[in-house]
Structure formats: C-alpha cells, structure tokens
Assembly symmetry: C2
Homo-oligomer: 623 residues x 2
C-alpha cells in the first residue's frame, strides 16, 4: 500500500504527531531520531542519564508504531567525510550510536539520511556496515544552485559547466556504488524550487530504487479558490514518479494549518495518476522464458493467454484479409481455402479462422496440428462438440514431422516469444513451410526484434538474488549462470538509455536457397545523460498479414495487447556511462542442431566479455 | 484456512459437484481424475479422440477452480509394483499420462494417490520423477484386517503378530523414504471401521506431514435426535488430528442426503476443538536462538517478552517470598534488603521487585545493571520519571565487570534460554555471585534442562531447507552447518518417541570450590512404536525460589507461560527405529574461554557421528 507521510522537525511528542497526521489524512510520519540535537562533542563514557533527554523514549510508541508508522531521520549535523579527523571520528561514533538506537526502535524499519553534497564515501562505508533494516537516502532532485546558474548571466560558461556537473544523481550514484548497490538502500527525492524541472532528469531517477518524493509545503501555490495546488510543471514531475509507485512525503513546519488540504489534493492527484493495473504484481519480476517446444504448457497458462483481449481479434482480421485476397467474391461458391493451424493449443486460433471464414463467407478446411497430448484432449472434445458440422481435422503431431493429406493455402501460428524468434518460430516455420503451397501465405509473415540499453537498479539486484539462490540449488552451476540469462520481465523501474532499434528480421515463408537463421548485428546508442548501464531490453514487432501488425516495442505498442512482457538481457557487472559516449552493443543469434541461443557484449564505451558464450547459461532446446 | 472437502466418486459433472458441495458447507471437492476408468490395456498411439471421453475436459472448470477447489484422485487400478511386467509397464505409462494431465489442469495443485498395501517402491520411483505440485498420499489409519485380528480367537499368536506387522504407517514410511522425504508429499489418513482406535497410533501420525483425514460417511452414527455424529472413540481421534491442523474430507456416495448434517457437525466440532492461538504462525518454524549476551535486543523483542502474562508475576511472588523469609515482621522498620537486577532490559524485573516490596511492606534498595546502551536510555527515563522517589540506582555495565558499592541480599536475573543454560546463565551468575552476600539468595536458584527424542518430518525438511539456503549465502559453510545447529521451535507436528528426562542441572549460587559448567550425560529412551528419529527436543524447568517454579517441560508446563519455545537439535540423517529398541543419547555441554556449545550423538540403536563437534556449526559467544 502506498503511503502519504508527514515530515516535521522539532516535535517533542511523537504520539501526538502521529495522531495529528492521521487526523489530516497522513498514515506515516517522518521525524528526527533525536528530539534535540546531540552535541557533536562525543562523550566517551556514554549513555548516561543526561543522554536520554536528547531522544525519545522507546516506550513512547508501540513496537508496531515504530515499525510501520515512522520514518526516523538521522541528524544532519554529522559529517563523516569531514577533513577534520576529530569531527569525522565523532560523527562516525554518533552515527553508529544513532543507527543502533534507531534499529533498537525499529525491527526492520525505515531510517532516513540526507546527502548534502557529492562527497559521501566514508559515510557509505560506515553506514553500510551498520544497517539491518531499510536505509532511505534523501537526495535533492536538482542541485538548486547549479540548476539556477543556467539562468544567470553573470557566470562564465565554464562556471556554469562546473556547476552543472554537480549532478545530484551522481551524489546518489557514488554513494550506492561505494555501498555495492546494497538492496536495503532506497532513494527519497526531495523536490526543490526550480523554475522548470526537466522530465529527462526525473525519468533517470525511475531507474533507481525510488521509495518516495518529498514535497516541501512551500512548493504549493494557491489556485483561484485559494486551495493549495502544485504548479503545472511540478504536476508533470509528480505524475512521472507516481507511475513508478513512489510514495509521497510532505515536509512542513509545526505551524502549518493546511495539512488536510495538502493530503486531500495529493490523495486525489494520486488516485487519478497512479498506474494501477491487474498485472502489477509482475512488475520488475524476473521470469524464465517459456519453452513451449520443450515443455507442454498447462491449463493455467493456456487460460491466461486465451484471455488476451486483442491478440486473437488481430489474427482473425489478418486471416479475413488473407481470405478476401485469395478468394474473389465470384470464386466464393467453388474455391476452398485450406488453413493449417500450427500449434493450436486449446483452439483460439481455430476459432479466429472459423470466425474469419464466417464473416467473409469464404469456405475453409482447417487442419489443426498440436503436439501437447493434454491440449489434444481439449481440442478433441471441441471438434466433437463445437465444430462437428465444420470441415476441421485434428492431428496430434509435432508440426515438423507432420505429413498432411494436402498442402495449405494459409499457415497460421503463434510461436512468437517476447523477443519474436526466441520460441523458435523461424526454425518451426521454416520446417513447416513444406506444408504450404508455393503461393501460400504465412500468418505471421514477418517478425523483427528490437533492443535498447537500459538502467535498472531493481533488475540488477533481482539478477544478483536469483544468481545466489540458484547457486544454492545447483552447486554445479558456475557463478555466472543466471547473471547471463535472458529473462521475461514486465519492465517498470527502468530508465531507457536510448530508443529501441531494430535488431533481427525473419520473413515467412523463407524462400532463400539456403536458410540461415543465425544473425549478428552491431547497434550504436548515444548516451544522453550520465547513468549506469545494467542490461538490454528486448521487444518484437510482427506483421501478421498486409498492414496488420502486433507490437510490444514501446514506440509502436499495440493497444491492449498483454500476452507478452519484454525481455531483459543483463550484463554481469553494471557499467557507468557518461553523457556523450556511445554504447556499442554486439548481439548474436546462434544456432546449432540441438539448441538456439543469444550472445551479447559491448565494445564501447568499454569492452565486456561475451555474455552467454556458446549458450553456457541459457539456451532454447530445439527438440 | 482449513478446508472441509467432499469426496465422491462417479460424477460426470464436476461443476455441479462443486456447486452441491458449496451448498452443503464443503469448500473443496475430491473426485477421480478420470470420469471413467481408462482401461489398463495401454494403447500406444495415444490420446486419440476416443480417449477424451474417459476424462473431464479442462474447460469444465476455470484454472482457479482446478487449483483451489479440487483434489484429483488417481485411479486405484494402476499397479506399478505388479509382478506381471505388462501390468507394471502399462500402469507406469498410464500413471505418467494421468499425472501429466492432472498437472495440466492444476498449476501446483493437489493430486491424491491411495496406497493399498506395503509394497510401493516402484510407484514411489515413478511418481517422484513426475510430480510438480503437491502429492497427497492416502493411507488407512489402520490395516483393518490386522486391527481386527487382535480380537479373533481362531488365530495363532504368530498369525496375529504377522498381521500386526502390517502397520499402515510402514506403508507410508517405506514409500516416502524411497522418495527421500520429498517435501511435496503429504499424508491423508483414512479412518476405517475399527472398534477401539488407539490414540498412540494416531499420535505417531502427527509427526508426519498430515494434510487431512478422510471420514467415510458410514462411520457416522445417529444420536437420539437422529442427527449423524461420530462415535466417542472417533471423536478422540479427530480431536487429536485437529490439534495438528488436519483438514477434513468426508467420503460419501452420490445418493447421500445428509451432506449438510455432516458438514454442520464437523464444522462445529472443529470450531470447538481446533488449536487456534496467536502464536500459530511460529509453529514448526526454525528460529536461531537469541544471544542476548552478544547481540543487543531491540525494542520489538523486549516488547514481546514483557507481554508474558505469567513470568513477571512468578518473579514477583518469588521475590516477595524471599523478602518475607529474610526480613521478619519485626525487622521491617530497620532492615534494608539490597536487590540487584542483573540484565534489567527495559525494567520488568525492577517492577516485580518494587511490587513485591510494596506488597510485603519490606524496605528495599535496587541496583539495576544492564549492558545494552539502548535499554539504558529507557531505564534512565524510568528512573527519572517513574521511580524518582524510590531507592533505585542504575548502572550501565556488564554484570561480569560490575563493582557494586555494597553486596546484595538478593540477585534477580532472567538469563534463561529455552534450554535453561543456553543463554549462559551459569557463566554469568557464577561470575556475578561475588556481588552476593554469603547468605544471599539467587532468583532463580536452580535450573534443569530436559530432552526427549522426537520424530518430525516437517522439521527434518525445514532443516534441509535452511541448510541449502545458507549454503547459498555463505559458500564457506560446510554442508553440515545448519544440519547440526540447535534451533528454537514452537513444536507442533511432532511425535514424542519418549517422555522428556532431566539432563543438566545448575544451582545458584554455586559454592563449589572449583566451578565447572561443562556436563556430559547419557540417557536411554525405549522405543514404543516403529518410527523415524529426526532429532532431540529440549526444555527447561527452573526454580525461582522455594517451591515457585517456571517450566516449559511438557509434563510440568507452567500454565500461560509463553516466553520460551522448546529447543530442537536435529540429526543430520533421519534414523529408523523399531519398537523395543533403546535410543541411547549422549549429550555434552562444552565450555571454552570464548564460547559454549552442545554436542550430541547416538550409540544405540546405531552410532551416529558426534554432531556439532567442537562447536563447528553452532555455539554461544561468551563475550
């Protein structure tokens, strides 16, 4: 459940603050860990009576309230990266003590620390050793002086450039790299007064583990009815982070009387702009791609796919268009069209074909070919009960071994995976095209895969997680396995480093004298902003017939199509890339008698090893 | 959520059966996978049209209904262990086909297979290779002929013995041993008509992964009001399995009109006799024992312990009794009793002492000693705010290093772990007794640990699970680690092979000239019934003062005491033990300067390696 948090400093009474927050529509509070600042002069013989006065007593709230209702803010006075060794050491000690106290209060709760500048290396070192729960890292969305400087005329070009380099994303980036992408760390973005916030900057943050945004109450303006609202430009920013499921924190002082107005406004804004959908639980979850050629799909999987509201309608339209092109109105009474459905599953494509025939009044004979014996049971019942008056014929066969009584006018198949060819549609259709008349039609007739480089901290950590879990199960696996595998993922928390470009193309039927389905292509993507390259996203577009296409490429995505999530090909190590550099991706599709696999690597801005060499970590079985 | 399942054979219409079940108070159905028996003569060219008539179509129910509302029963005609190789091979093929079909219908659902005799080795082999979801293994509670034979006078003693050996638990045991304790397998116990069911037999099944019991409708008798009820003896059996959270299946034929009466009766019976409590989620879950000496406890843990409704009342009573014994009524005005609370946490024992003083009108001075700096903050606030008029003094110290202004009359501590001495109360109290006057009192004054051998399939599999997970995280760990560790567990699904016997005793203060807290003891437990020894359960009893005791030993358990769960010391391999054998357990408490640990092994009925030798897998740090 997303939360709305009230952040307030200088409250001696936390339970009253919680009460006030609740009354005003906030379900969480953020408050300083120490009611008063503990002096930086660290006292060695410690924790004496006087000490307790600086903080809240743990009995003030229940353990449950500490855990689920409060974000504890660490003091801003500490400076673990001070050049003064006394200040640095005292800061380290106080930080340790405060984190120990915060974790005493919270059993896996939330601690917030604020980054105030680029240099935080020693802080990262100290804090990573300590935290057991979640560490929220507060970073300004912009470096305000730098952002403002762009508009100042009194600065030299160099001075502006220098200020621009103080990118707050780099504050975070250096901090979390030092902490080795620790998955307990999450970003809290602080909105600050900048005239024109750039959405490009905001989009980059979506590739990070974004927990929340902090909206200072002075960012609100009054509308004509005198209600507080956010300026238009900030509404765009908020919309963007809400799509990434960020929570909202409002920072106010204790005298602010508009709390309820803020929460009403934000609650309403969130209800309108949040991205709620039925597939939410799949977001950023790694799934092993299906191998329907090797494994038989089950009832549950068939049911999910059959529910796609768009796919089978597109197929029906494609078959109808092909029928009309092949059989003129005058030929309708005499001309029979033979349609073969290759890999019929539980029959949705057969229905599409029968509907298309009925709508166009064309006469058809349907050969249904399916290799899964469990699906054959269902098809067999359908043939008997639903299609007993139709000219349909069921064959329990692998399409590659099928010898038909006659050749087909139209082959219909849905062997496409998230990456187009990754469920071996080229291999299957090449082999099946002997079933097709020389002037016959394949639906689909063309498929193209697309890729682009992306940044996603979440996916980087998800792959690390899978990697160590799988290492547990199978000690034979090298540590590389699973860090080099292609996954199916509903991409959400990502930053697109470049726009997807077309990769491999396959045409059906393939009339080449010698058919070669291996491929190799090199693509260049210019880097628009400093970021971390974690992997490659993959998509496909497929032409069913004529101009009827289905696509999961973000630029051309078919509206309502839900059957396919994108692919994700990780790099084993995250790679820092700089604005202006070129990412040069090499991608191979490799084919042997028994298996098909992909390999990928970079040669710019630096050279990586070739991932999944020889298909060692993942491949698709041909048999 | 526990379910009530209606089992019926010979239903052509499953959706109507689900509807009928729901109307009559059953939320799940069990029905044969095949609507008609598929002939055992296996047809090689398979899965043809005719074939589909034998089973249900997958479109009959939604994927969700197949998964959550149905238990699919495999055919009883298959005989994978037939001596006729043709029957055996055909059975294997049909079993594979049927499981493939069942798993096509159910995405991780429930398949039921019935064991009909002792010999099921080949069945176990075939089935373990196939199942992906849960396999329910139906076994009669008794072997009915064997059970009845005990009462027959025409059989020779030998014949009776032979029949008795046909123990249905052994049918299951051999089956699951062949399947290597596969955690996807669960037991479904079939009640059958036996005059006097033995609760001992039933209790042994509680150590197994018990999913459900099947009550055939003919087991019901009519009470005076003509309502169906279970006979008294069977009520006892049902009560016993309900305590272990077994689900209930009622087996009837299609003409039975009393369905609603059965479900009402059973629902009501379950509501009365189920074991629902707030700690349910902890049952059979392995927890790493706390090491409060090494780790500081957090706010959440303190809060849990402080909530114990019994513990601090017992301490208060013990302190009161000691005060009265030490200070006669006439001495009240003059005599001050010095109480030291060692390891005060957030002060519950201080409250017990102050209450005891107030109730007995004795004058006390309290020294509070605590080493956790976070708890000191709370204590410090309490001293200031709650106890400012009392004679209390706070010291932020490890009790082993504390130099008091004066010696104590009474030392109060709660350093007891689930096994008594496993949080190092002996070491701490021995060291602290220099704080005590020579005639002073320690509360507690004596602790004794208890052990007994147990069978628990669930815990055996839980340890295997932890073991492979931890191997993932820490590649340095040997594969033994975690299979040799002591755990804290709320024991539930266990069979007590013998009654707990006393193991180690510690007395405080310990006036021995040379104190030695290492121990070694050998205990013998006769085996009452064939079973599998998986580990050793551990408990403690502690005398606070005089006759005031707290105990988690099942035989003497203090009513309402919830602060401690038992210990569990696993054996790395499960060991089959036979009625009449003696289990001889050797148990050591070992002490070095830096750590304390336990070792354990068997020398009868066979010899195991010494577990946790040298504390290699688990130990308690002294500092």
């Amino acid at each position: 459940m997303p939360y709305l948090c009230l952040m307030q400093e200088g409250n001696a009474n936390l339970s009253r603050l919680i009460e006030r927050a609740n009354l005003n529509g906030f379900n969480v509070i953020a408050a300083p860990l120490n009611a008063m600042e503990i002096p930086l002069e660290f006292q060695k013989e410690p924790m004496n009576k006087a000490d307790s006065k600086f903080t809240y007593g743990d009995l003030l709230l229940t353990a449950d309230q500490w855990n689920t209702k409060t974000i504890l803010m660490l003091s801003e006075l500490m400076d673990c990266d001070s050049i003064d060794p006394v200040v640095r050491k005292n800061s380290e000690e106080i930080l340790k003590r405060d984190i120990s106290w915060a974790e005493h209060l919270q059993y896996g709760g939330y601690i917030l620390i604020k980054l105030r500048r680029a240099k935080n290396l020693n802080l990262a070192r100290v804090i990573t050793q300590q935290i057991k729960g979640v560490l929220l890292v507060q970073v300004p969305l912009y470096n305000a002086p730098a952002a403002h400087a762009v508009w100042r005329r009194d600065l030299s070009e160099e001075e502006v450039l220098d200020l621009e380099q103080q990118d707050t994303w780099q504050w975070w980036n250096r901090f979390r790299r030092a902490a080795d992408f620790n998955s307990k760390m999450k970003v809290v973005l602080e909105f600050n007064e900048v005239e024109r916030p750039s959405l490009d900057i905001v989009r980059r943050w979506v590739g990070e583990p974004l927990e929340a945004v902090i909206i200072p109450s002075n960012l609100f303006i009054r509308n004509r009815q005198k209600y507080p609202v956010l300026p238009k430009a900030w509404q765009q920013v908020l919309k963007c982070v809400l799509q990434a499921h960020a929570n909202i924190v409002v920072a106010t002082d204790a005298n602010d009387n508009s709390l309820k107005l803020y929460s009403d406004y934000l609650q309403n804004f969130r209800d309108i702009h949040k991205d709620a959908h039925s597939l939410e639980s799949f977001e950023d979850v790694l799934e092993i791609p299906l191998q329907p050629l090797y494994d038989n799909l089950d009832c549950y999987t068939y049911e999910i796919f059959e529910r796609d509201p768009v796919k089978y309608k597109m197929y029906q339209d494609a078959i109808a268009a092909a029928l009309i092109d092949r059989v003129s109105d005058s030929e309708i009474p005499d001309k029979l069209t033979v349609i073969m459905v290759l890999g019929a599953g539980r029959g949705p494509l057969v229905r599409s074909a029968l509907n298309a025939a009925e709508n166009t009044k064309r006469k058809i004979r349907v050969y249904i070919i399916e290799k899964n014996p469990n699906a054959i049971r269902t098809l067999s019942a359908m043939v008997d009960e639903l299609w007993s008056t139709k000219d349909v014929h069921l064959f329990s066969k692998d399409m590659r071994e099928f010898s038909p009584p006659e050749q087909a006018d139209i082959l219909v198949s849905e062997l496409l995976g998230s990456f187009g060819d990754n469920e071996l549609s080229p291999e299957c259709l090449d082999c099946a095209q002997r079933l097709l008349k020389t002037d016959g039609i394949s639906i689909p007739c063309k498929s193209i895969s697309y890729i682009n480089p992306i940044m996603s901290s979440k996916l980087y950590n998800a792959v690390r997680q899978v990697r160590s879990e799988s290492f547990a199960r199978d000690k034979q696996a090298t540590y590389l396995t699973h860090a080099e595998s292609g996954y199916v993922v509903l991409l959400k928390s990502i930053y697109n480093i470049g726009v997807p470009q077309s990769l491999f193309e396959f045409v059906h039927p393939n009339r080449d004298p010698i058919i070669d389905n291996s491929r190799y292509k090199i693509l260049n993507f210019p880097v628009e902003a400093d970021c971390i390259l974690t992997g490659i996203a993959g998509y496909f577009e497929s032409t069913l017939y004529s101009d009827i296409k289905i696509s999961i490429n973000p630029s051309t995505h078919t509206h309502g199509l839900v059957s396919w999530f994108p692919m994700y090909f990780p790099f084993t190590e995250p790679l820092e890339v700089i604005k202006g550099q070129i990412i040069k991706i090499h991608f191979w599709r490799c084919v042997s008698k028994k298996k098909v696999w992909y390999e990928w690597c970079l040669t710019s801005p630096s050279t990586t090893h070739i991932h999944n060499l020889g298909g060692r970590s993942c491949h698709i079985y041909c048999t």
